[in-house]
Assembly symmetry: C2
Amino acid sequence: MIKKRIGLIRVLTTSKEELLNLHGHLVMKYYPGFEVVSRCIPDQPEGIHDYETEQTAVPKVLALAREMEREGMEAVIVSCAGDPAVAEASAELRIPVIGAGRSAASAALVLGCPTAVLGITQEVPVAIRSILGDLLVSDAVPDGVESTLDLMEPEGKEAMIKAGVSLAEKGARAIVLACTGMSTIGAADTLKERLDIPVIDPVKAQAAAAWTLLV
Amino acid sequence: MIKKRIGLIRVLTTSKEELLNLHGHLVMKYYPGFEVVSRCIPDQPEGIHDYETEQTAVPKVLALAREMEREGMEAVIVSCAGDPAVAEASAELRIPVIGAGRSAASAALVLGCPTAVLGITQEVPVAIRSILGDLLVSDAVPDGVESTLDLMEPEGKEAMIKAGVSLAEKGARAIVLACTGMSTIGAADTLKERLDIPVIDPVKAQAAAAWTLLV
């Protein structure tokens, strides 16, 4: 079987191969028919966690996406729930551009139920908000979490669980995790052990979107 | 590994086991972690292909969905792009209710590109239209095709290809197949051989949605 080559863009700058490839390896574990090549944008060791860091990232993501198309990738995944440069790249490139945020929100839309968003930014990412529309009933940021790195600490993980449980108690019938750092720490599985509603993991959602669109 | 049991509702009445299980077998082929139990609604040997046949089907689908929840299924898939009774079942049941139409349209929404719908009903199904919004740029029904059975004839297949090619020529950057009978005949693969854009198969889309939401 010839594997489909997909480029995956990390918005967290890292020289650690394992961290760089983490989302790409998950996508390939879920869908062995994909060969995923991961690259990260330069000079953003704390990733994207507010408006400024997002704006800074946009041209860098676009440049990587162009490079990946030139190299013959069949799609580009932007592995960030803020979908930085996804609209721009999508309008410009010929190949599908798949953002984690859009993928996760679209998966929730299938259910058509009241949905909550659990992320690390004070504002729900624009694309997620726009896709969910009236279905978006609440959102939260785990206490004390300001960047994807905080999620990797035990305190961040505890705060994530607390926030997720509270969203479900307030009536959400599905939770969209609006940060791919949540995938890194396996937040969806942790929350699903405690909650009886779908919890949508953005890396899973983008992998499934790529499969549905390409295979 | 304990498989997740999912109920799949066919809206085409059939006593042929192979036809009854066709979509369920595809879902299990794509996602071996699912055990899919297929059932069909009674007295609709021509399936759903217009407003009247859809209205007749709604209470039957709802009854089957309730039965499946009672039997302990972890989700219900309504394997019809018209999403009959999906909103009603979703509001009533505790388990996720996944419609083929919503799943396919949501997958296209990830791309955020001009999208066409190729189906068998003169009107684009309501849920698909509502999800795609302004992204829906054109739609078509293959010449001479009035029900899912027509698609199984060579003439129906030829007409399907012609309609798909024409939608792409008119500027669509993705095509949603708005009839699960298209999955039965492998229409997405046939079209992808001729077109350079994503063609979304509703049975694949509902399978991927179930995986993203449940696993």
